[in-house]
Symmetry: C2
Subunit: 298 residues, 2 copies
């Protein structure tokens, strides 16, 4: 299996599911939903939904119906997209460019962008808790909703973003950098893997292995993000390169230098794959995804 | 039963439950949670949680355990509070004063305020979907989560706020004003009543009656809000009086004049109470709450 064709095929699957599971731009709130859809459809690698699908299949194999995972996958991308819209706001990172396009607030104005983010976040929970969105049992839907809410909130992504902003231009220990990375990026990536595992009917010890895999993959993802912010161009990234240094953000390369950081990212990927030793070949996409996270160029 | 003592007793019950169900300001995200708690504990009438509790008891009587309703009641107040924090932001209504205190962004800065709102919204769904928060069955928790997500999101509160902002200083038909009121304020009030009904084990026709009651009470609430914005002082309101006219917002008094608006509010309250004819004396607090919404002075 070639990772590139796998990724583009899965991306298409996820984006086709948006048409089923994301509100249409019509009716009285047409403009508001247009703003939500603009950022959701503005590209993106769809890593979180793809990890969720891959984890479900790694556990459940052919017994898992894609239609039961896709609402969860779409909800994860809604949450990721809302976080980008709010992070880009003038009061936060003040970014004009994202995925090579104007950021939400540049196009729709600040108030509409805040509300587009709020709308996407809330829609994610609408989708996750919808009794009619799939055949998954209520207990599973509830467990998935709770796992994702915990990861997205104050003890995960939102709390990490707050710490990140609060610590700009200040010296802080490596442990704080790790906490920021784990909560801001790692938590939702881990929740993507765990929620996929729950969709696939994983037993508790399997879920625990998936959680550790997710944790290491999330760490690798953020370390590589730090690296690319230095080594890639704005054109490659589709967002401002070099912005971390400009904002005085603590990053892995700032702490360890580029070579050692590369080594640490590679190590995290290997550790992630080691967590899957008890899994059979159905977990091959999870292994390839870990490798891809290290080799990606944007 | 005197409504004043009932309200203050229920308010105490809800605020005591915050200590159980709301994150403590400690650990690495201490400052972020302080910002969330600041607005949550800054006063407020706790109307939504109280409606939720009253609806559950109107339906389930003594068989309903307060401990099963309180997590839902707290989640509703988290969502209401997040909406106030985001509405007050400079990019939205740009308000400095709320409940007689500095608004969140004035005290904590804009970035932290946006994240405090995001954190409260996400915590609400964490609480609603937490399998261990109460003894309610997974099916009920899921139905409650979904009902509240739908009401809080793009087809409810968030969509209504977007319409409200987009239509400032513009002429629009009365139907649009109704849509804004119904979605911005009415939807979450109705969801408070319905989610209480689900906690109490209401049958579908009882839920339908509660929904109609909630709809009329929500309408009355917003009409009275429009009135108070003109007739009350900033001191009474704890927020800027006269701000609607200043911002060119369409309101009931602007459309109908003060006397006719009072009549319409009274009518909505009577219609709300009429929806409860099939309920026994356990619904007395719901009837008194409807009256209170008309007579309140802030």
């Amino acid at each position: 299996m070639a990772i590139k064709s796998y990724l583009s095929e899965q991306k298409l699957l996820v984006e086709a599911a948006f048409e089923t599971f994301i509100p249409k731009a019509e009716g009285v709130v047409k403009k508001h939903i247009e703003a939500m859809r603009y950022s959701l459809f503005a590209g993106g690698k769809r890593i979180r939904p793809i990890l969720c699908l891959a984890a479900a299949r790694a556990v459940g194999g052919e017994s898992v119906d894609d239609q039961d995972i896709l609402p969860v996958a779409c909800a994860l991308e809604c949450i990721h997209t809302y976080s980008l819209i709010h992070d880009d706001l003038p009061a936060m990172d003040n970014d004009d460019l994202r995925r090579g396009k104007a950021t939400n607030h540049v196009l729709f104005g600040e108030a509409a962008a805040i509300l587009a983010g709020d709308g996407l976040l809330t829609w994610a929970f609408d989708l996750l808790s919808n009794p009619d969105s799939s055949k998954l049992a209520a207990e599973k839907k509830l467990a998935i909703t709770h796992c994702i809410a915990r990861a997205a909130g104050s003890y995960g992504m939102v709390g990490g973003q707050d710490l990140d902003i609060a610590n700009e231009n200040s010296e802080f220990p490596f442990e704080t950098l790790q906490t920021i990375h784990r909560s801001k990026t790692g938590a939702l990536i881990t929740a993507s893997v765990i929620s996929g595992g729950i969709c696939g009917g994983a037993a508790p010890d399997t879920l625990a292995a998936l959680e550790k895999y997710g944790d290491k993959v999330g760490l690798a993802f953020q370390i590589v993000d730090d690296l690319l912010n230095i080594t890639a161009t704005t054109e490659q990234l589709g967002k401002a390169a070099g912005s971390d240094a400009e904002r005085g953000k603590a990053t892995y390369p700032a702490h360890f230098g580029i070579e050692e950081t590369r080594h640490l990212a590679k190590q995290a990927v290997e550790e992630a794959k080691n967590r899957l030793t008890g899994f059979d070949e159905k977990a091959k996409p999870l292994r390839l995804l870990a490798d891809y996270i290290y080799t990606r160029s944007h």
